[in-house]
Symmetry: C2
Subunit: 315 residues, 2 copies
């Protein structure tokens, strides 16, 4: 089997001293016009080539600085098959550069269909081979089995939606079943598999998505899933603070660890209006990336005055 995803991630985050995950979300209207993305012709060769060129730069800037990137497949699907081709090439490029790749796909389907999704992204011979994937639990635990088997066989990482960061997440995820919210029921149902998928660092290949906008819930999830990595979206553009983003992290050695904090728009495009020239954008990209790395790096360092959020240790 390939090396264990969570172990590789933990080694990389310890070495680079930050848990930053850069989301690759092609918000097409914010990509500098020099890249030639055509909003009136999303399925064109030109648009896919522009998106690919844009993210080749992002990947090259990220390599060696952050442990992991997270392409959002929806933004490539909107470009049609040429978008998927660009995604395949970008995923391969990122892995060649030593970046781990979590494919943000939120797939969830039953039996043979789930198997087909696992085959699509998680097998050594998959056309678009990622290191990990995000999954939706609505269809039940049996719908996750093909992915868990892929993890056992090939060491890949899985991140199941538990508590997402959008306002409407409460509609169903927070409904109480005998006093326990649904997302906690999901977590509890995952716990045995999470325990079975631990690596040599103690961390598991079965993680969860835990939105940074609800830190109290992340802390609660940590109790149910002590060994799972938390993929935390919502830092930056979605408005969550760095302390909130780390609510599910635990002290481990010199730092807090236990997941990755994702930022997409805040790093790729910055605040304000559409980026100017490609060269201005590129300079800003490095600055924004370094600022986010620095902020997270400081926040996870276990200087006593900063360690205000503690939780159950992973072992």
């Amino acid at each position: 089997m390939d090396q264990h995803f969570a172990d590789r991630y933990i080694e990389a985050t310890r070495q680079l001293k930050n848990p930053l995950c850069v989301g690759l979300d092609p918000h097409l209207e914010r990509i500098p016009t020099e890249f030639g993305v055509r909003l009136d012709a999303l399925g064109s060769e030109q648009s896919a080539a522009g998106v690919q060129a844009f993210f080749e730069i992002v990947i090259d800037v990220c390599a060696g600085k952050v442990p992991v990137i997270k392409p959002q497949i929806a933004f490539f699907e909107q470009l049609g098959w040429r978008g998927l081709r660009a995604l395949e090439r970008l995923v391969a490029r990122a892995r060649e550069r030593g970046l781990l790749v979590i494919l943000d796909a939120k797939r969830g389907d039953l039996s043979s269909t789930a198997q087909a999704y696992a085959q699509s992204y998680l097998f050594p011979n998959s056309p678009c081979r990622a290191d990990a994937i995000t999954l939706s639990p609505y269809l039940g635990i049996d719908s996750l089995k093909p992915f868990i088997e892929a993890s056992l066989a090939h060491g890949v990482g899985l991140f199941v939606l538990a508590r997402t960061s959008n306002p409407g997440a409460a509609d169903f995820q927070s409904l109480l079943i005998d006093g326990v919210p649904l997302y906690e029921r999901v977590a509890a149902a995952l716990a045995p598999s999470a325990a079975a998928l631990r690596g040599s660092t103690g961390w598991s290949n079965l993680g969860v998505v835990a939105g940074a906008t609800y830190p109290a819930e992340a802390a609660r999830l940590r109790r149910t899933l002590p060994h799972s990595l938390f993929l935390v979206p919502g830092y930056g553009a979605q408005g969550a603070s760095v302390a909130a983003a780390l609510a599910g992290f635990v002290p481990q050695g010199e730092r807090l660890e236990g997941g990755m904090v994702s930022s997409s728009r805040g790093i790729l495009y910055g605040e304000g209006p559409v980026a100017g020239s490609a060269s201005e954008w590129r300079a800003g990209l490095s600055e924004r990336l370094d600022a986010a790395r620095r902020e997270l790096s400081e926040a996870i360092a276990l200087a006593p005055e900063k360690v205000t959020l503690r939780s159950i240790p992973p072992d």
Copy 2:
């Protein structure tokens, strides 16, 4: 706006006198070897070309005989970008032949990402333009809004997962919240939008997926969503009877109506071992299709001795 999906579906099913939806699921190992699909090279041109040729025949056989087909995108994704290209071509071919196309994608994501998925499949300029799509509700009602807006603007159909047909569906979908199962809470949350998306036939563009293996639950969903079309998977290969598949249908004119009954493997490949030659397979395909159409056509006809499953009428 384009013509209303539910109206078009209802007109087609009345004219063809059957509610059969043929699922296009490329179970690669069951496609006759003459098509050249290579299990050892899923991402190859040859595999994608083989799958495309196989389904071109299926589409041509289905045209004029059934109202709708349902490609399962996972099985195309496993072929990489060439699989998506084949899917785009097949969807276009089916629509040219007068078939409606429900893309079985079970997508579900938040705000701008949901918007990107809607852009991918539901807009007039989408590279892979379908007539309807399946969606997952786990992220909440706000995650469905971009799709509901696409439906208002472009007349497309939406089928949200309520109660699926797999054994593990009960893990979360049937959990009781104040005595009401989760899938019913999902249905109740959809009801206002479903009412707002009705067409001239009275049926709504906002439907649900309601597995045929749980007919009592389909009947219950019908009470909550009187105007929604039910996409019923699980007929045929998954073992549900035709009576169970029609549990959510209601008398309307001379027949039961209110949804579409999907069959994939049972029609495409039949029982037993791998199909023989392409010509044998093609002959069998027509026979299996006609048998399923006949069975469903008889089951929905309102001869008194057959009308055992009644429900609340749509108006």
